[in-house]
């Protein structure tokens, strides 16, 4: 059933919110009053409520089933997190209240920092970044600030593996760096020969500012040479930015600080389970090494005796800060959720979650390798990467395979990413799935793979059938974009 747009059902002058009647006091708007209608539709409260409840049922969600979207870490979102995030001392405090009136909120930020630094074995963390990409920006800004402070402003080249998330090169460029791609070896990891060559070629006064590396990488593999990579980069005066998108494969078992990392963002919304909410909000606190910590963005919290203080301006100890990344202190609502999640798990539970995530991914990989084609040999970390060799000559493509999963009741895996693998299918089950759910999922995937090989192409090309809509025409959307509702011509006229 199609749900009309609110603009198609609302009537002018209705409202779903009552206010007391204005008393008609004089205005002080300086003649800038708005005239005429804004054009927003009016709906009563029950109509509005029903609209969104109906729409919601057109969404798939982790609460409904397996959501094996590789690199996205769709894990259980505990409702305790939601409850805590709404406590008045976190949700109903203003960022610019006197600091004496927000001690609890500052203490929470301080506690969160302690957990993150301990898990990472890093001496500092910048909480403000509002998402993973914002965290990347934070780390790369800090690196740039440090380089500039050291008089190394010629260092403007950043090495990025070709398997990296697209945000890595985009971030590097946004920070004024140039990007140099490093190839992968046949095992899906950094080609060390190539890396060593690049580094030694860059010579004495190397222009290499650093490297941006995801670990485990986007193929779901631990970069086994990571310590050597860090040493190499440090050897030419560069810094090691680690993309922490996959930190959930390491928490409690491996600390980035032990790998030579200088900066790493942590996606609280992936690793520590603040919900994705259909696209955010995220939160990307960035841990920093000794070399970078003085360059952290403002504001940040420090403990001063029994009091917590917010450092808001670049004075004194904070004078090296590279500045402010956004209006306030970052994503408090995500801090409270993430800390709640971490405390609930504790050191033992976080480690167990990591192990279960890795175990689940390997279980899927092992259970499907006879009918699908794992991209690389050996065990994986928290996600299993397949390529499309098993679909060769079947007429079924990765996209078709993914859409057919919808009809099996699942959200598709990540497809065509990472780019280094042909027709990639990246499956991340997370630790939140039970063995029973995994077994059902595996059995569905096996039967799809066998169906494809049996030549039943049609059902793949038509998929999905059991979804609110059939396959959508994305080309049409992009070619002549319709990005908003506009009133039908006759209606626009009728409204004069």
């Amino acid at each position: 059933q199609t749900e009309p747009l609110i603009f198609e059902v609302g009537t002018p002058r209705r409202t779903g919110i009552d206010f007391p009647k204005p008393k008609g006091r004089a205005t002080r708007l300086g003649g800038q009053e708005r005239e005429g209608e804004i054009g927003l539709p009016g709906l009563s409260e029950p109509e509005t409520l029903r609209h969104y409840v109906r729409l919601s049922q057109k969404n798939y969600a982790i609460d409904l089933g397996v959501y094996p979207l590789g690199s996205c870490t769709m894990k259980h979102n505990p409702r305790l997190n939601e409850k805590v995030a709404r406590m008045p001392g976190f949700a109903d405090v203003h960022p610019l209240q006197p600091q004496s009136t927000v001690q609890g909120a500052l203490e929470l930020m301080h506690e969160l920092s302690h957990w993150l630094m301990t898990l990472c074995n890093m001496p500092a963390v910048a909480l403000t970044p509002k998402a993973g990409a914002h965290g990347e920006l934070c780390g790369m800004m800090a690196i740039r600030a440090r380089l500039d402070a050291d008089g190394a402003s010629h260092k403007r080249r950043v090495l990025v593996p070709e398997s990296a998330h697209g945000t890595n090169p985009a971030t590097a460029v946004q920070c004024g760096f140039t990007v140099d791609e490093i190839p992968a070896n046949s095992g899906g990891r950094v080609d060390m020969e190539a890396l060593r060559a690049k580094i030694s070629e860059s010579g004495e006064n190397s222009d290499i500012a650093g490297i941006m590396l995801t670990n485990p990488n986007t193929c779901g593999l631990f970069e086994s040479d990571i310590i050597e990579i860090a040493d190499l980069i440090h050897g030419v005066g560069g810094y090691f930015y680690c993309d922490g998108a996959n930190f959930n494969a390491l928490v409690g078992r491996v600390r980035p600080g032990d790998l030579g990392v200088d900066a790493m963002h942590i996606n609280l919304h992936k690793t520590f389970s603040t919900p994705h909410g259909g696209g955010g909000p995220g939160s990307g606190p960035t841990v920093l090494s000794d070399a970078l910590k003085d360059y952290a963005p403002l504001p940040y919290v420090v403990k001063d005796g029994e009091q917590f203080k917010l450092v808001e301006t670049a004075k004194g100890a904070a004078s090296d800060s590279f500045g402010r990344m956004c209006a306030f202190h970052g994503q408090m609502g995500m801090y409270s959720r993430a800390l709640t999640y971490m405390m609930s798990h504790g050191s033992d539970g976080l480690k167990q979650a990591t192990e279960d995530a890795v175990l689940n991914a390997n279980y899927i990989q092992a259970s499907l390798s006879d009918v699908m084609t794992p991209a690389f040999e050996g065990t994986c970390m928290h996600e299993a990467l397949f390529d499309d060799r098993f679909l060769k000559d079947t007429g079924v493509e990765t996209l078709d395979f993914a859409k057919a999963m919808i009809d099996e009741g699942y959200h598709p895996m990540t497809m065509y990413f990472p780019l280094v693998v042909h027709g990639a299918m990246l499956i991340e089950p997370t630790e939140s799935e039970s063995k029973g759910e995994l077994d059902r999922f595996i059995s569905s995937m096996r039967s799809l793979a066998l169906r494809a090989k049996a030549g039943m192409v049609e059902s793949f090309k038509n998929a999905p059938v059991y979804a609110p809509l059939r396959r959508l025409d994305e080309t049409r959307a992009a070619r002549k974009p319709i990005l908003r509702w506009t009133p039908p011509a006759d209606e626009a006229q009728a409204a004069e």
């Binding site: 002058r13 804004i38 001690q103 697209g166 955010g280 609930s344 759910e437």
Partner: protein, 452 residues
Amino acid sequence: MDKKDNQMRYLPLNQNDRAAMLDVIGVDNIDALFHNVPESARLKGLVDLPQHQSEHAVERHMAKLSAKSVSASSVPFFCGAGAYKHHIPATVDHLIQRSEFLTAYTPYQPEISQGTLQTLFEFQTQVALLTGMDVANASMYDGSTACAEAVVMAKRVTRKSKAILAPGLHPHYAAATQTLASTLDIQIDERDCRPGRDSHVIDHITDETACVVVQSPNVFGEIIDLAPIAEKAHAHKALLIAVFTEPVALGLIKSPGEQGADIVVGEGQGLGVGLNFGGPHVGLFACRQKLVRQMPGRVCGETVDANGDRGFVLTLSTREQHIRREKATSNICTNSGLCCLAFTIHMSLLGDAGLKQMAVLNHEYACHMADIIDGIQGAEVLNETFFNEFTVKLNKPAAEVVQQLADKGILGGVPVSRLTDGQDDLLLVCVTETSTDEDMHVFGEALAEILS
């Protein structure tokens, strides 16, 4: 494997499951799956943090922390300066907690994400209508980052690199913009953040100007006539970027689009989203049709499915990093999904009539509060114009006054010194529809006492 079953409530596997699965994988133990980790980096034992705790224990701990802060709704409250306290209907919070909205990812699979996608399409339309622009994106992190991105976009559009930030632009917005601009060779004019000076930006616009950024109502609460600034900017092929921090104001004052803005950015938190100690909030970003392919952030567009039925998809992804990589318009991929949903639900509940009424009440109450304050010795309202926030000149340092008010259980506004250096005697006072006559009376009394 003689460990007891881990009882952590979020983890479905038990030891039997784990053993059976390791068996299928063909390894002896879990450590084998971490064999690629260099020996030196393999952590022995547990990190030095507390072990798992019951929900009850964690909730109690958090409740204790929460109780250590003074919540806005528990006292007479007059803070604004970029974050606004409005009444959020219970329906909003109920709906955004629905599993299907809360626990979905970015809608990459449109066939099973129409719920999120249609709300984004409706959101974009609402933002375009509210700002008077042609199109809007699916939201940014917050108003300040939207502002910074707008300046970067202006450089792409105009291929010029000088930006003028008006004196009344929120200092934090200016700082966030400065940070991003600093690495991108965008030069930002020095500015003098004081009340009453925004119209002077006209004099600084030259042919080298890429954009001029003007906030209205500005950080001092003043309503700025954008039309003459737009005219001058356009004459020099520069863009006018209009900024707002209080979306409710647009229910009562002329839209920036009407006044000639090319890009409008702002903070949407005031509608649907709580104060949250500063985040998450929701950045709004709208622009003229012709600029759409330079717009950063996600956008949702209308299309049809294989049956010809209307549907929605994320589109124009050729601007984005996962396709464009280092050539992307911005490194942003996450939007402020759930906040954007809250905003759009609040807007739908309000409609035209509700939003206007809400705005009128904000303004009326603020006028009333301004009158009270103007009657207090030692306090003077500086604004000729304002919406729901205004600047008060005090006979004492504002930060001290605010602390004294806090000691009396009143959160009496934001000292300008909290935002920018100098002007220690200025206090920003904000009044919304949630302020009662009694709150205003109590505030007036206390202020008079402190200033006397």
